[in-house]
């Protein structure tokens, strides 16, 4: 049998790019939420978690409206920057980043919140800046949280459907990810293909969570 592997490759490309962007975005965002004294973090916090409760189609629909050539934002992207967002890989990345944001930010946030404040003060008392303290003291000590966030964001992006379908459509090789390919194959009654894609995703999801679990156990079990 000959399977089209492009949806799988596309899915992993999307998940990798998304995870990378989310990691660079998630650490400072989580740090800000945990340590800022500013009040409007109370608005930002629920916004970050919104994708957890919002139907993906709603998010996809808004993004579609936002980036359509008829909206000012979409128009700006297309005519000024020459970038097409809707029905492109870029659109998928933007949608995925927003949609998987809580899966990255929330574990890191929890890691930062449970990190002993006394150690941060000890670092400051040694004359170290916030930045140096973050990179040399805090982050190395919350590796499990960073790992959990990255893996969850990756896995969640792999399993994404609604947002991708709304903003990306189902263009083979461009925006047709594995989860969408499954839907298409079932609709076209190509059950063999659907079996294949589903089996791959199922296995990957299990392996990812299994490895995460094992790694976290190992990281936490630092015998003193």
């Amino acid at each position: 049998m000959n399977f089209d592997l492009s949806p799988l490759w596309l899915t992993f490309k999307l998940a990798s790019v998304t995870t990378l962007i989310l990691f660079t975005l998630g650490v400072p965002l989580a740090y800000w939420i945990v340590f800022t004294p500013r009040r409007w973090k109370t608005v930002v916090e629920p916004l970050v978690s919104m994708p957890l409760v919002l139907p993906p189609t709603v998010l996809g629909f808004y993004l579609l409206l936002l980036f359509s050539p008829k909206s000012p934002v979409g128009n700006f992207f297309e005519s000024v920057l020459g970038i097409k967002v809707v029905f492109t890989f870029l659109g998928l990345v933007i949608g995925s980043v927003i949609f998987s944001l809580p899966f990255m930010v929330n574990p890191i946030k929890a890691g930062l919140q449970s990190f002993p404040k006394a150690l941060i003060e000890a670092s400051y008392a040694l004359g170290k800046s916030r930045r140096e303290t973050l990179f040399k003291v805090i982050l190395p000590n919350i590796k499990p949280a960073l790992l959990t966030g990255s893996v969850m964001a990756f896995a969640h992006t792999v399993g994404e459907f609604g947002v991708v379908l709304m903003i990306g459509g189902s263009i083979p090789g461009v925006t047709r990810t594995a989860s969408i390919a499954i839907f298409g194959e079932v609709e076209a009654l190509n059950y063999n293909n659907a079996y294949f894609y589903s089996g791959v995703l199922f296995t990957i999801a299990f392996v990812i969570l299994f490895v995460l679990n094992a790694l976290n156990k190992k990281i936490f079990d630092v015998t003193p």
Binding site: P116, A118, L119, E121, A122, S123, Y124, A125, L126, G127, K128, S129, K136, V137, P140, N141, V222, P224
Partner: protein, 290 residues
């Protein structure tokens, strides 16, 4: 010279309390601050370090002003040259013993200092171990030399030995004194252990409810009555047992338990848990070296 004049409203376990202190420390002096827990000892150190901001006051170290509420000066903790030794060590678990020290260095090139400090604290062999694998005394030594590694202008100790057993505590007191003698940095040592004050400092500040009530040499403050050859200790009544016409009172003094015989009249006002003074005329006390 170090000048600390600070006011701060605190919420303590016993309700709101106003911390209001004003004291001077001569250059290179080692002073202790003694007081019950909740008296504001740690807050004083944190205000000097810049970890807690006073409501108003002036903190000056040498010619540098670190805090001045009138002039609007409040240097961030990073810009205050302090060596802070915390009660629970606060060693970085992701770094080895050596890396903990190297991280603290102000001048990253000063690797010889790291080796020197490791040798001073007897930690050279353990340089590549993580702090979690050290014993309590070793952790405290590391915390000590880590504070020294940045060559601070002032040394702040927040009950650094309180979680160690007596033997180790005595040993580390000696080591701190040796280090102090070597580096001659003005030092504030917070403690609620009386013997520590006698041993460590030439000047003690007594802090009660946020105010310094007495200042002086430890022997002047605590031992006024000892000169007449009397012994006097404060203890807690653990047990009262009647034995014919007398009572036998079991009293805890520090870590020691002693029994004192009292008459029925004397015992009448006593109950378990009372604080009492045990005093004796000691005409010929026996001293044994331990």
């Amino acid at each position: 010279m170090i000048r600390v004049k600070a006011k701060k409203k605190l919420i303590s376990a016993a309700g709101p309390m106003a911390l209001d202190v004003d004291f001077l420390i001569e250059a290179n002096d080692l002073v202790t601050i003694f007081g019950a827990s909740g008296a504001g000892k740690t807050t004083i150190l944190r205000m000097i370090a810049g970890l807690t901001t006073p409501d108003e006051g002036l903190i000056q170290v040498g010619t540098e002003v670190w805090f001045d509420s009138k002039a609007g000066i409040n240097k961030p903790v990073q810009e205050r040259s302090i060596g802070f030794v915390f009660q629970d060590y606060n060693l970085f678990p992701n770094m080895t013993v050596r890396q903990n020290l190297e991280y603290a260095l102000h001048d990253k090139q000063d690797k010889p200092l790291v080796d020197e400090l490791l040798a001073l604290a007897n930690l050279t062999e353990l340089a590549n171990r993580k702090p979690q694998t050290l014993s309590g005394g070793q952790k405290q030594r590391l915390a000590l030399i880590r504070a020294l590694a940045r060559k601070p202008k002032i040394f702040l100790f927040d009950e650094p030995l309180s979680s160690l057993d007596l033997e180790l505590r005595l040993k580390l007191q000696d080591e701190i004194l040796t280090l102090y003698g070597r580096f001659k940095i003005p030092t504030i040592f917070v403690t609620h252990d009386l013997s520590e004050i006698y041993k460590m400092s030439s000047t003690v500040f007594i802090l009660e409810h946020g105010r310094i009530t007495r200042t002086g040499k430890p022997s002047e403050i605590f031992g006024q009555d000892n000169l007449s050859g009397k012994f006097k200790f404060v203890g807690t009544v653990l047990e009262l047992v009647q034995d014919n016409f007398l009572y036998i009172v079991t009293i805890q003094i520090g870590q020691n338990i002693t029994k004192v015989v009292v008459t029925e009249d004397e015992a009448a006002g006593l109950k378990v848990g009372d604080k009492v003074i045990v005093a004796a005329k000691a005409f010929n006390p026996i001293l044994l070296k331990v």
